[in-house]
Amino acid sequence: MKAPGSLEEILWITNMVLTVGVLVRLAMLRLISTYPALSAFLALQSVRSFWLLPYSVNTNEYAIPYIFTEPVLVLSRALVVFELYEKILSGYRGLSVLSRRTMSGCLGVSLVLALAAHLREFLVMSPKAKFLQGLNLFESTVFTALLFFLVILAAFMLYYPTPIRKNVLLHSWAFSAYFAGTAVALYLSNTNFEAWNRIASVTRMSSATLSLMAWCLLLRKSWESESSAISVNHSKVSQERLLQQLESLNMKLERNR
């Protein structure tokens, strides 16, 4: 492997280290089985990065594995979002409005919005890098749709708060920031590939670095039991405390009878 020279290479290695770091933290906190899709995505990402590390970007040894693994990674990111949705849904148990049909509708709306946002890009294709641009466009559309989906979910959580694990919120935030940064970078790249591809690449990797750093620094075991929305949390101890709190409410009512 050659020594890192450009900013892109430094960011790439940083991302690789941080990806492994998040995976190790998940393992140390025994959260791998809680977030299997997230863990699988981080593992796949790490394997792909180590595989491509020895090769230069402009070689077939780099390009072919990249082109074939990228759709798999896009799909695994989508699975992470659906895993987050399942975790959020568990906080809203018993709410019929959040049926699979409603969520499919939300996903459909997100996809339509994403396609509408990319309409112009479908028409502007550089003849020099048509295949790579096509891949970028596919990724960008999927990421934008997933971003819209996460934003709709976040807006719903804000409107109708229920206890949600803080780690789930952290994952949602990190993925939203990553999808937003990447979609913007891919848009730049697709608008004028020759002029903006390098800047887009740096923007994309910077957003990944930011999200991974947030994960590394903020991910914690206690956030599995602490929740947002109301001052209660999911651990057994705190659920007992909640029952005591409700019990004391009852006692006061009884006294006032």
Binding site: V151, Y160, P161, T162, W173, T191, N250
Partner: protein, 170 residues
């Protein structure tokens, strides 16, 4: 507009929306805390004066007083609207606390299967009524139409009535 300017604007907008949204979500716990003291003192009846605050009778009486002028009436109206807005903010806080209490009851397994749906239905109705009253208030400031605050009090009462049976000591 050049693509770069467009991208910069979109990125800044996205960053602001994401930061705001998730900051609000992480901090949501501070806003809706309920306590035994609050539940003990809570009564939707506290908001009954709110329904009479904007009664036209006060203005009819005022118009017959010596020294009445349109400027005084407007100032009086604006003052009443301001008081109403403060009442509405308190109402929303109390409603959020009631909803948080409802969520706590669900978490503690003290509710039946349809409780979550009922709670959500109340949230939808309260939001719609709250914004209707806000709009009516804006029109009222200019002497247009009447403000129906009664339905907000009814909805608060309705949510409390849903929670009350679950809270009854057994």
């Amino acid at each position: 507009m050049s693509p770069v300017t467009f991208v910069v604007i979109i990125s800044a907008g996205l960053a602001v929306v994401l930061a705001w949204l998730f900051r609000k979500l992480f901090r949501a716990a501070d806003g809706a805390a309920f306590s035994p003291e609050w539940w003990e003192n809570f009564s939707p009846e506290r908001y009954l004066p709110f329904a009479n605050l904007l009664s036209e009778e006060d203005f009819t009486y005022m118009r017959n007083l010596p020294g009445y002028d349109a400027v005084t009436e407007r100032a009086f109206r604006n003052r009443r609207v301001k008081i109403c807005r403060a009442y509405m903010m308190d109402m929303r806080e109390d409603f959020d606390r009631l909803q948080a209490l409802g969520q706590a009851l669900i978490l503690a397994g003290k509710t039946d299967a349809g409780f979550q749906d009922k709670l959500f239905g109340q949230r939808l109705r309260f939001t719609r009524a709250w914004w209707m009253v806000r709009l009516e208030l804006e029109a009222y400031r200019f002497g247009l139409g009447q403000v129906n605050t009664g339905r907000l009090v009814e909805l608060l009462d309705g949510t409390a009535a849903q929670i009350q049976p679950v809270m009854q000591p057994v």
